[in-house]
């Protein structure tokens, strides 16, 4: 039992095995880490930290008590057919992951707001023109998804004096932020968003949410930033809007298929700034401290933090 006995952690990483093992050695020297697929006696394993578990993984883990996700998004966990959904599933929330996402989205908001795509075009033509730039206070940024990442971004954008509005699944007030929610308010939200930042999880409700119909609601010189999940955006519809000129530009870090297929037009589309899913990754040292604290707290009778609700998909 994790509660009063030894913690044995199954680790399946996102290709940074050694860094994770070192980070656990630092944060939880008492922890026994077993690196997948070398599980030893699977019945001894009572916790797991996972990225993209193989389909049958959980069948062998009879005494598992808690599952930690390596990423902030848990779609790769929730689609695993053997996932024991009755167990606590703890989302990764750690300061470096949040900071990285804020930096990435901020870079792209600044790039679009400060007309860098136009300046890059002018540069190639050796054309010197001091474009007139709007103050941040005249730009409305719409943040879709108001979890830990979306809220951190909204706060930072507000500090830089942007007009920030938010969109989320269900109702609820957020201090200092105008919030739209649900399907009924999506159009009103998009009509106001001059720069739209998608930070929603991939769920049945969000898949393909950014499509020809919803893109048509954006102001005509709008920009889209997707740093959430690739399937939030219908890529064909997005390219169509860019090519028709109804959308001014896009920054895409995530894609319907990853790695992005070599023949995708998104690699080199003149109006697309494409990056290979680098917006933010979990930082093992701070992540292991988060896990250590969660297990400590659990042993003292406190609830697990940041629990995933498999029913709603995140």
């Amino acid at each position: 039992m994790l509660e009063d006995g030894k913690a044995v952690m199954l680790l399946k990483t996102d290709a940074r095995d050694k860094i994770w093992i070192d980070a656990f050695a630092q944060a939880m020297p008492e922890l026994e880490v077993r690196l997948w697929p070398d599980m030893g006696d699977p019945s001894e394993i009572n916790c797991a930290l996972l990225w993209g578990p193989p389909p049958e993984l959980f069948d062998a883990l009879d005494n598992l008590e808690v599952i930690f996700s390596i990423g902030a998004g848990v779609d790769s966990l929730l689609t695993c057919p053997t996932l024991p959904t009755h167990l606590p599933i703890v989302r990764m929330v750690e300061p470096e992951l949040t900071a990285g996402m804020v930096e990435f989205c901020l870079f792209h908001v600044l790039r679009f707001h400060r007309l860098m795509p136009q300046l890059e075009t002018n540069r190639i033509a050796r054309h010197w023109e001091e474009l007139t730039q709007a103050p941040a206070s005249e730009i409305t940024v719409g943040v879709m998804g108001l979890g830990v990442l979306g809220m951190a971004l909204a706060r930072q954008l507000t500090a830089l004096r942007y007009q920030v509005i938010g969109y989320r699944r269900g109702p609820g007030e957020v201090d200092g932020l105008e919030v739209f929610h649900g399907e009924a308010q999506l159009e009103a939200f998009m009509r106001r968003s001059e720069i739209l930042v998608a930070l929603m999880p991939s769920t049945q409700e969000t898949r393909g949410l950014i499509n020809s119909r919803t893109l048509s609601w954006l102001p005509p010189t709008a920009y889209v930033i997707n740093a959430g999940r690739g399937d939030l955006v219908n890529e064909r519809d997005l390219v169509k809007a860019l090519d028709e000129g109804s959308l001014a530009g896009a920054a895409l870090d995530v894609f319907e298929t990853e790695p992005l297929p070599r023949d995708s037009v998104l690699w080199t589309h003149a109006k697309v700034y494409m990056t290979p899913h680098v917006a933010s990754i979990t930082h093992p040292p701070t992540a292991c401290r988060y896990i250590a604290e969660a297990i400590d707290d659990f042993r003292q009778g406190k609830p697990w933090p940041n629990l995933v609700e498999p029913g709603r998909g995140y």
Copy 2:
């Protein structure tokens, strides 16, 4: 006399005449504005708001009492041979100018920190590689020049958790910031600066300050951002350092000659992000409110704000 009489403002703008005139009409409806070169009776003019005054301008202005600079940098004023240096010269300090500079520098710091130049190269090659990125807390940004703009940038970078160090001309403590000063401490400052942001004024002391000798002090993968004045940087030395690989990249908004000559290698150098002096410009509505307040305060016996010291060059 400005003190107890009518204010007559000579206006020579940076090519935005109408916007400035409208902004004064809003902020100071009682002000009489005369747009250079239509000065009317020059002896009636008691204040002036100027950008790049022509050499003889001040000879005609016998009753001038105060000079306002349109820009934050006053080098174009101070090199005017007829400038009456005994008069108060008020530097432009207004929130939108500061905000624009912070945005611009922040964009470039994020771009370098988040390895966007490398990702842009990979994109052209259709090469998907999730580069490992350092947390902001492991990056040291050196801000050269700790006036209103430099300090605002330092505060914002600190909020994003960068390690920030500052460099200035003379000694003096700054709360929460490690400050280097004077020639003797320049090497120590540069050796620490992984991203160097030049925000100094153009003075006898700063001209050519960034040259082969001082660039050699930077860490080998350092980046330089110049949003101050073009002559802070010896362009030939900078290009040499980039070509030799001792400097990783540069973002240049200002140049030894502006507009940048069409044959300059800086237009299209692979390691240079060039922009045409757009980092930040004065926003007439807030600038005119600043001037209105300064004149009001003066009439109530208060000193002029943000006075230039011609002797030190800024």
